[in-house]
């Protein structure tokens, strides 16, 4: 029996008819994608508010009674964890992965729709458990998003009791949710591509999402293992990670466990996580750039190779996060080398994006602005990564604001830029409406310039030596007074950027109702998701017949063609065919 995901006749797919089956317990990948997306944006806003609170404290110390050192640490931790896992991972893979995979490869749905639905509800549960920790005695954990033992579960760290338990439980639940979703994504990409959609004809978005999902499937177990073992250390009193120690004048029952073991496990997950977030962003930005520059992506094959190479290399660089934990010099050398090697495929990608723009017919649409903004922020964050990858440079800079600036540029702001580009780019498809261009551009300039106003000075105060995760600077001789002035200005910029996100939310929700009706394929894109019969696509995506693919996704501005784009499902004319053979 043909699987329904790619069957030509869709009578086997019963349309959901009640409100509940259509919008709540839905098995349709598009609805699940939107559920994932809305939930992720909601927790993301929580994390944004937390960052504003932290900035208020840092910019104007001693002005806010409700932020004390403990709550500051709790804000840092929850902000970091939510942003990385519950917002970015969930939105990029659960949201865009779900929406785009079946549509871009020409399938009717994911191959395991039921499991896909379970994945969302499990994710929602993990979010609820996470947010519940704000309301338990002691509040959420303040151990930092890295949750290093022993301090994470010892008295003295905020939320060392309930907070950390809920955090670990929530992570475990999230990993189960991710695994269910991830199995779907990889299987769908491998098994449910439509006629003629060879792997190398897939848009780069799919390559990025696919590779990131494989990374996630192989990396999240490391986080699960560390979460389980730390949970046992906390709840039952085992000593996997907990060394023999004296806490608050009392010697505890723990025997000689190894905190560094936790760090290895955590970063064996943690570094690939950076690419779990980055690779889908790389893919989507490539497609946005090509579409809005009306040019084929420069070096498609090289782009695919780079994605795969980065994916592989990302598993052998993890200890660059642990230089300050101490290690054999040979290991330091090894990890510094691999870290610098991974810069090669990454740089290739950046060159190719720039060369795609080179002499393109660039349309400065809102998605394009965000995509170009990404090239800036990513290059910027990537360059400081080259500094930090070297042991001798990392040692003094580690745990300063230089690191905070680096990772916000490379894995905070950059994926967010792509997410905005992607939301604006696919908004007409998802909702059938156009957003307001003026508001979109305003949103872009506030966000892009604001980002630089926040993070450029952070590099500087990092070099001055302002430490990371500090509630207040206190009296330090080596940090000049003026650092505080910079801190105040960073805070004001951060508040402006935070508020300017309201423009985005307003635009998105206002346009849902009042936006202009979107034309069919308004950007003139070639990939399949824009070639559906209905906009937004209906249940089953393709009406009675699956699309037939004849070409890759980047036939823009082909000489001699009627229009400046040829959709993937457009047959090859005989003349074109011979021309192709000749080249």
């Amino acid at each position: 029996m043909q699987h329904t995901a790619i069957a030509d006749q869709i009578d086997t797919m019963h349309d959901p008819d009640t409100f509940i089956t259509k919008y709540v317990w839905s098995q349709d990948h598009k609805v699940i994608a939107i559920q994932y997306g809305l939930t992720a944006v909601f927790v993301g806003l929580v994390a944004l508010v937390l960052s504003a609170l932290m900035r208020l404290q840092l910019g104007f110390p001693d002005s806010f009674d409700f932020i004390d050192p403990n709550s500051y640490l709790q804000f840092v931790t929850m902000h970091g964890m939510i942003m990385v896992i519950y917002l970015l991972t969930a939105l990029l893979l659960g949201g865009f992965g779900n929406y785009l995979i079946p549509l871009m490869i020409g399938a009717r749905d994911m191959v395991f729709p039921y499991m896909n639905m379970l994945s969302y509800w499990t994710y929602l549960l993990s979010v609820i458990v996470l947010l519940a920790s704000f309301f338990v005695p002691g509040g959420p954990t303040g151990a930092g998003w890295t949750l290093y033992p022993p301090q994470a579960i010892l008295q003295g760290t905020p939320g060392y009791d309930w907070g950390i338990i809920l955090m670990l439980a929530s992570l475990a639940i999230f990993i189960i949710a991710f695994t269910m979703g991830g199995l779907n994504y990889v299987t769908t990409v491998l098994q449910a591509r439509t006629h003629g959609m060879t792997l190398m004809r897939m848009p780069l978005t799919i390559w990025g999402i696919f590779t990131a999902t494989v990374l996630g499937l192989l990396a999240f177990p490391a986080l699960l293992v560390s979460a389980i073992m730390m949970m046992l250390d906390k709840v039952i009193g085992t000593s996997f990670f907990m060394p023999a120690l004296v806490s608050m004048g009392e010697s505890l029952d723990y025997t000689g466990g190894s905190p560094v073991l936790f760090q290895h496990l955590f970063w064996f997950f943690g570094h690939p996580e950076v690419y779990i977030v980055a690779l889908p962003a790389f893919g989507m930005v490539s497609d946005v750039l090509a579409t809005h520059a009306r040019k084929n992506i420069f070096g498609y094959r090289m782009m695919v190779w780079a994605i795969v190479a980065i994916g592989g290399l990302s598993f052998v660089v993890w200890a660059h996060h642990m230089y300050v934990s101490g290690m054999h010099p040979a290991f330091g050398f090894f990890f510094a080398t691999t870290t610098l090697i991974i810069a090669v495929p990454t740089a290739i990608k950046v060159y190719n994006w720039v060369l795609t723009l080179w002499r393109g017919n660039i349309h400065f649409t809102v998605p394009m602005l965000f995509a170009i903004g990404f090239i800036f922020t990513f290059t910027h964050g990537g360059l400081t990564g080259l500094f930090l990858g070297n042991v001798t440079i990392d040692l003094p800079l580690s745990d300063t604001y230089f690191v905070v600036a680096h990772f916000h540029m490379v894995m905070g702001v950059s994926p967010i830029m792509v997410l905005f580009a992607a939301i604006y780019h696919w908004y007409p498809l998802i909702t059938g409406r156009m957003f307001s261009d003026t508001l979109g551009k305003a949103h872009f300039w506030f966000t892009f310039l604001g980002t630089y106003a926040i993070y450029l000075p952070m590099h500087y105060i990092g070099v001055l030596g302002v430490p990371r995760r500090y509630f207040a600077m206190g009296d330090t001789d080596f940090i000049p007074e003026s650092a505080q002035t910079l801190n105040a200005s960073i805070t004001i910029s951060a508040l402006i950027v935070g508020l300017s996100q309201l423009i985005f939310l307003y635009n998105i929700f206002w346009s849902l109702r009042y936006g202009e009706k979107a034309a069919h394929n308004p950007w003139g894109a070639t990939s399949l998701e824009w070639q559906t019969k209905d906009v937004p696509p209906h249940h089953g995506n393709w009406g009675d017949k699956l699309p037939q693919v004849y070409r890759w996704a980047y036939d823009f501005s082909v000489p001699g063609a009627k229009e400046d784009f040829i959709p993937q499902n457009h047959p090859v004319s005989p003349e074109e065919h011979t021309a192709g053979e000749a080249s």
Binding site: M1, Q2, F112, L199, V225, I236, Q548, V572, G580
Partner: protein, 226 residues
């Protein structure tokens, strides 16, 4: 079948009318499930691999006392572990026999063998629980020593994976009951069997690890650089 290198060498920008590129996808639910199973095995494999690696790393700290070696350690005598293992081997074998009879369209035998597989799996799980009891009666509690902690943890995680397998098998059985045809079950059953064999393999590795003397563990740890 995907050949990675060949795939990565294709030049998709050349427009080809070539028929071979415009293949009609031949996908049924079992083929999809087979791919998913491969990924599941990879994920589970990584999970246990990481547990084992941390076991070896942790074994190099002075408070670690492995569960075998000295005469008073519980797994120096492996007979009890072998008993449990034999249940799991029987479960795997019954599963395989179930597939063969399903392929020969012998309904009753298939049902018999699959039930036997379920029976032995459950027996294994109970035997493991009993082993837990025995060890704690001997004073080997979960938090008295990291080796003990690992014993309880690894057996628990392994057992949970078997329970997961049983649930999927139950779901499969309920579906085939509705269809009432043995040949239909042969292919999905094959996937279940693969999972069972895999978990048997995992258990053998865990067994070997738990029953290793300190010397063996130290040698393994040294090989990994700990």
């Amino acid at each position: 079948m995907i050949r990675p290198l060949q795939t990565l060498r294709q030049k998709p920008w050349l427009t080809q009318a070539s028929e071979q590129l415009n293949l009609i996808p031949e996908v049924d639910s079992v083929a999809a499930a087979r791919i998913a199973l491969r990924f599941i095995l990879a994920v589970v494999g990584v999970l246990f691999f990481l547990f084992v690696i941390t076991y070896l790393a942790r074994s190099q700290y002075p408070d670690f006392q492995s569960l075998a070696g000295a005469p008073w350690q519980p797994f120096t005598d492996t007979s009890r572990l072998w008993l449990n293992t034999s249940f799991l081997i029987l479960a795997s074998a019954a599963m395989q026999a179930g597939i063969w009879s399903a392929q020969q369209e012998r309904q009753n035998r298939t049902i018999g063998f699959v039930s036997a597989a379920v029976f032995f799996t459950v027996l294994f799980l109970f035997a493991q629980l009993q082993l837990w009891q025995q060890l704690s009666q001997l004073g080997f509690y979960i938090s008295t020593n990291p080796a003990n902690s690992y014993f309880y943890l690894l057996t628990a995680v392994h057992g949970l994976h078997l329970v997961g397998g049983l649930i999927v098998l139950g779901y499969l059985a309920s579906k085939t009951w509705a269809v009432d045809s043995v040949t239909a079950i042969a292919k999905p059953l094959q996937l279940c069997a693969t999972y069972w064999h895999f978990l048997l393999g995992v258990w053998m590795v865990l067994f070997a690890l738990l029953a290793s003397s300190p010397q063996t563990i130290n040698a393994l740890a040294a090989m990994c650089g700990f």
